[in-house]
Symmetry: C3
Subunit: 309 residues, 3 copies
């Protein structure tokens, strides 16, 4: 198994490496004390060119729980402000000198790829525009394995904004490493999944269909992966045409199999409309456990990139 030097794209993961990281995540979870100091002389720099508090806090917590330290900014745009105008490559080369790993969130697709070419330290892509978000995909697949024992053979319904979500792109790439996965894509007409992803799935023999009736899909799915309509990446017209079209609420929750799971990368808004009492007691609601899983796969990834013998 080859050790990763960076994490830029979901395609970098081999099946073997995924299973290694999931096993490592489980070990860390069970015996956190064994890992408390493994990165004690390491520094992680968190460079966020757009806000993503949840992702930032999750990475920071992961690093600290391994004994490491964190520097960073929520304000990285200042590097490239009109006034100063430094290139991303130069910013990365300078910051490389101050840390052992860079976690980069950027508004432009390809930013992490560019950064990884000039950085003297590993770069982790924490989301690049409409591009990818590979640690989100990692925690998604880890969650499926943890909740349902296996990923192979699962029928996954992916619902919502499939045009703008890098989450969906990264998830599709990662699932193609497993056997007999089948996807059903359910999205408003104006937010359908891109051709590049379909081609990737065809090339890797992953079967998929597109459906418009969510309630028809629910009884067949092992995983219902809901996503948010990304208002901030579309026109008001497009938003109004798609908002509220696909919702999980108490009326269609009954259609979902008892052993299925509802996932969501969070934050969710109206596309999931369940009372707190259901969210906290119904085992099918997996999205808060999914968010917690993010901590452990990020710990595993950081340990793998920086310390693992």
């Amino acid at each position: 198994m080859e050790r990763l030097k960076n994490l830029v794209r979901s395609q970098q993961f081999s099946r073997e490496l995924l299973e290694h990281l999931f096993l490592l995540a489980n070990k860390i979870r069970e015996n956190p004390g064994n890992y408390r100091d493994v990165l004690s002389d390491k520094i992680m720099a968190v460079l966020f060119y757009e806000p993503s508090t949840r992702t930032k806090l999750s990475f920071e917590s992961a690093m600290l729980k391994l004994g490491g330290n964190v520097i960073g900014t929520e304000n990285a745009k200042e590097f490239s402000s009109a006034a100063k105008g430094e290139s991303l490559e130069d910013s990365i080369r300078v910051v490389s000198a101050y840390c052992d790993v860079i976690v980069l969130r950027h508004n432009e697709t390809g930013a992490s790829e560019l950064a990884s070419q000039v950085a003297g330290v590993p770069v982790i892509n924490a989301g690049d525009g409409r591009g990818q978000h590979p640690t989100q995909a990692l925690l998604d697949v880890y969650t499926i394995q943890r909740e349902l024992s296996t990923v192979d053979g699962r029928r996954i319904a992916v619902v919502g904004d499939l045009a703008n979500g890098r989450t969906v792109r990264s998830l599709a790439y990662l699932c193609s490493k497993f056997n007999n996965i089948s996807f059903t894509f359910v999205s408003p007409p104006n937010l359908k999944i891109g051709d590049d992803i379909k081609e990737h799935l065809i090339e890797h023999n992953v079967s998929f269909t597109e459906e418009s009736d969510l309630n028809k899909v629910l009884p067949r799915a092992d995983v219902i992966y809901m996503t948010r309509i990304q208002k901030e990446r579309m026109t008001a017209e497009d938003y109004n045409a798609s908002k509220g079209l696909y919702v999980i609420d108490e009326s269609n929750l009954v259609l979902i199999r008892k052993d299925a799971r509802i996932m969501h990368p969070l934050p969710h808004v109206e596309e999931i409309n369940l009372p707190i009492s259901v969210e906290t007691t119904d085992a099918r609601v997996a999205y808060f456990r999914q968010a917690e899983n993010g901590l452990y796969v990020r710990m595993a990834l950081l340990h793998h990139l920086l310390g693992e013998k």
Copy 2:
């Protein structure tokens, strides 16, 4: 004595618990080395929905001095931005998975109460709109005890914006745990203390009066607690009507008893107008020591919530 699980309101403190925390604060102050590692495997998340640099730095320093770690954001509003629109409860549930305690500053009254109901970890209210700011009250009362030996029996003049200040609300609630406190409230006509606080004081047999002449009040008070007119929470008209009405300066400093203390939650603006030479030599000026006391009561509180045997 019951251990606190959260700190949302000043009313949660019993007299016994207050004395326990003040004693603990003193012990930590005298022997910081004994407490350097007590929270070494703990993470505090600092979620600020509105800026309060002073409070943030004080909590962070407290946590680090106990060996703990800190994650956080000054940018928590991003969670609930128009674009993403996540509920506070969901944000708190997710962040709970990444930390051992949440320090929450929010612009809406009741936010900490709500957060504490869903969080899987203790929540500390670091100010919620016009609601409360219980660690401020804690450090205020600790300061009175430290400066004047006892809190019982003290005559406390509270001066300034009594309508908008959560500081005053929390202080009044906390003082009602002590015996024979008497308050004198001095405020511009448009910024008088609210009826809810008066009712609380009456119910708890705390005597109080309202006065309009500050100079008449000064010679009788043990503590003169000044507050800032909160320009940002009122109309320009209201601000201009009250700004500069009640000021401590060299002309009325002479009216204050030698063994009295001038307190202020800081920042102060024109309501205290003393030269630096007086501020640094006159023992009655207690507000910088008061700010420092905040560090020790917050250390005591964090230790109590998270580690204390």
Copy 3:
């Protein structure tokens, strides 16, 4: 040798102290493990009233690598916001209680001087408006020594915006501690070096000339110190008159001596226009090593101010 209590101005460094700090920086670089815990019970507060991500990250990394902890804000302007209006002195007095050293970046000249007068802990000036930036000068001179073995006798061409750059001011002050330095200043007519700096150099017997033809200067210089035209500190007219006037690119790189060095405080924009392949292989390109040197001199400085026996 007198130990520094603060670092506000480059003039505070004696030659002896400079050599001590450079030696210490080298020792730390060679044996970082020996210094991993020297500041383990210390807290550094980073107060930035204007953004400077690079400087902030460099100081934070330096403190963490010495075992210390960091609190801080990129948002320090909030202290002095119109709504709250606290004086800098009061902010500093309060923050002093929470930390062991303050790193201050401020938009107003003289801010660090003022802060150092009231702080109960050491203050490090990390840039004050058009004033100074003494740790930048420290890393600049350390870089000259490291790259060229000696600072004495060097011919230094300083190019670009010499009117607005605090970097140039601090560098000139620091170089006057060495022997037989000669400066050549090359700047657009509207951005010439200030009379105060010239007077300082005359007073300290440092020779200097002003030139308008960069290409005539290049073959004679040991160090070509390029600076950015600071768009944000001038009118659009002034910017357009000076932008692009002095540039290092492949056409004039050949004029630079093989053993000379190109330095820059970074970020650079169009004033350096070299392909990445040249930047990474041509030994004369020193500016990324210069940025890395900043880490080690800041470690040396923090250790000197806080811990060194």
